[in-house]
Amino acid sequence: MTRTPDHSFRAEGLRVAYDSHVVIDGLDIEIPAGQVTVIVGANASGKSTLLRSLARILAPADGRVLLDERDIRSYSGREFARVVGILPQSPIAPEGITVADLVARGRYPHQGWFGRRSSDDDRIALEALTATDCTGFADRPVESLSGGQRQRAWIAMALAQDPDILLLDEPTTYLDVTHQLEVLDLLHSLNRAKGTTVVMVLHDLNLAARYADHVVVMAGGAVAASGAPAEVITAETVRLAFALDAHIMVDPVAGSPMVVPLSRLHPLTPASVPQSH
């Protein structure tokens, strides 16, 4: 497998608004190439909006997103889609579509005007099905699959697009914990094997800490903190971003920071802490 080329991908002075409601204001961010970046933040902190702006689904009111130092609006649709792919939150599968058909449609940006297929298209789509372990049910309709299988099928479609940078909006929503880990393991191994830059929005801070090389914490439409999980996921940032008191421990399995939330009913007492960080 060839190593994915590195791209510089950043936003500067980004301002995004829905009508008059400003969600992101004056945001700067740089996505490290070849790494797994996880964006976390409270509800309505602008995580999804940021991801959708990076994917060109939303047009910024001000500022710009630069891919290889070129404004992403100056790329043609397919040219951009060959470098940056996005898996939206809960995407819609047309009724009756089979997994194979869905994944094959991920090849759209690589095909010409009348959608002519090349032998590369089949090979890459099959690789995507194999990498996500979807080959066993490739001929089944997407709606007949379990939640975990369905999410894998969508990731396979995004892999068939073969982007160098893959954005995912809450890829673990609606999945039970086993399937959440399965999907995140898959994305992690994709990043390590091919060097694909992965940027995802996650809700779960502990999973974010485990899987991220780089964490971006958003609060109030701006970046509150960013960096390696061990530096960023601290009691202070959690309080700042989520208005939550938390105790930070070391994940005994992954060695990453682990957030133990506190509340009125479960405050921190000296007796309740076996090992402090």
Partner: protein
């Protein structure tokens, strides 16, 4: 999760695709044979029956002159117009339903055919025009309603639900315009206008057929270029954008083709209720998967119109029933079934 190469690879991609392609080809083949059978029976049946062994020589120019007159002047124009209008309606319905992700989104439900009827009725009853002028007005009426719906529904992008609701509003508006015009008209004119607003192919002339055929060719070529875009649009606006599709312009492109197909078919054959509405769902059910099924939908449209015209002209001897009455009888139960079952159906995530 690890990827294991030892796992048996059930169906390969080309195999899955070939399977679907074979199914589309099989369905289209059977439909084409059925259409040919209806055409053959229609050509031979009527007040002046022509036996099957005389039809083919006559069509090839070697028959009796009386047979030739009946075939070329009376029966063939209706059938050809029926086939072309059915193809146009079938495809238009498939496009509207796919574009707006709603089985109710068909030009006859969302007022586009209604706009054509209202304009035609206005032309016949108020302006006193006939023939090509009525067709031109009908075309204009369809396009005007489509533009009005688009303007009113597209404030936040072209959402399917809004489009259908605004369209249903226009359908009622068109109905009340037609009703008002009919109450003002004298009896004979009202009958002509009423027949027009139902739709039929009895008045088919070769000149009109030429116009439809010439219009259909560029539309269908343009549609062929849009097919990969429609298949991408089916995945939802965000995913389609992520795949590099210019979603807004693709949507307007598909909408323009669908409106033009509806407008040109309505201009010459009238609204022919429910043909656009039923063809694509039947085609999709026969083909399976998320296939656009454009060719099967076109064939089913042609079958429904030619069969309806055959039934309308033979079932009650001596009485001319417009084909649109029969298509309505075929389509209305399907609408009721759809409304009764739509909320019980599976929704995909």
């Amino acid at each position: 999760m690890t990827t294991s190469l030892a796992r048996p690879i059930a169906p390969t991609l080309p195999a899955v695709r070939r399977q679907l392609a074979r199914r589309v080809a099989l369905v289209s083949g059977v439909l084409a044979v059925l259409l040919a059978a209806i055409v053959a029976v229609s050509l031979g049946t009527g007040a002046y029956p022509i036996s099957p062994e005389r039809i083919l020589p006559t069509l090839l120019g070697a028959g009796e002159s009386k047979d030739a007159f009946v075939l070329f002047r009376l029966r063939l124009p209706r059938i050809v117009l029926g086939v072309l209008a059915g193809v146009a309606f079938g495809i238009a319905g498939a496009l509207f339903q796919t574009l707006l992700r709603n089985p109710l989104a068909s030009p006859d439900i969302i007022g586009i055919s209604g706009g054509a009827s209202a304009a035609a009725a206005f032309g016949i009853l108020i302006l006193g025009v006939s023939g090509a002028m009525v067709s031109l007005l009908a075309f204009g009426g369809a396009v005007a309603v489509a533009l009005a719906i688009t303007l009113l529904a597209s404030r936040e992008g072209l959402s399917g639900y809004r489009f259908v609701l605004v369209g249903v509003g226009f359908a009622f508006l068109a109905q009340s315009v037609i009703g008002y015009l009919l109450t003002r008209a004298d009896e004979q004119e009202a009958v002509a206008a009423l027949a027009w607003t139902v739709g039929g192919v009895a008045g088919a002339r070769w000149d009109d057929i030429g116009v439809i055929a010439v219009t259909l060719v560029p539309l269908l070529l343009f549609l062929a270029a849009l097919v990969p875009r429609i298949r991408t649009l089916q995945l939802g606006d965000d995913t389609a954008t992520g795949l590099g599709l210019r979603v807004v312009s693709a949507r307007y492109g598909v909408l323009a083709v669908a409106v033009a197909l509806t407008a040109v078919a309505t201009a010459y054959a009238g609204p022919l209720a429910f043909v656009a509405f039923v063809s694509a769902p039947i085609a999709r059910r026969l083909v399976g998967g998320a296939h656009l099924a454009i060719i099967p939908a076109a064939l089913i449209g042609a079958i429904v119109v030619t069969f309806a015209d055959f039934a309308a002209s033979t079932l009650i001897p001596g009485v001319v029933v417009p084909a649109g009455i029969v298509t309505g009888i075929i389509g209305a139960p399907y609408l009721l079934w759809l409304l009764a079952t739509s909320n019980r159906g599976r929704r995909n995530a």
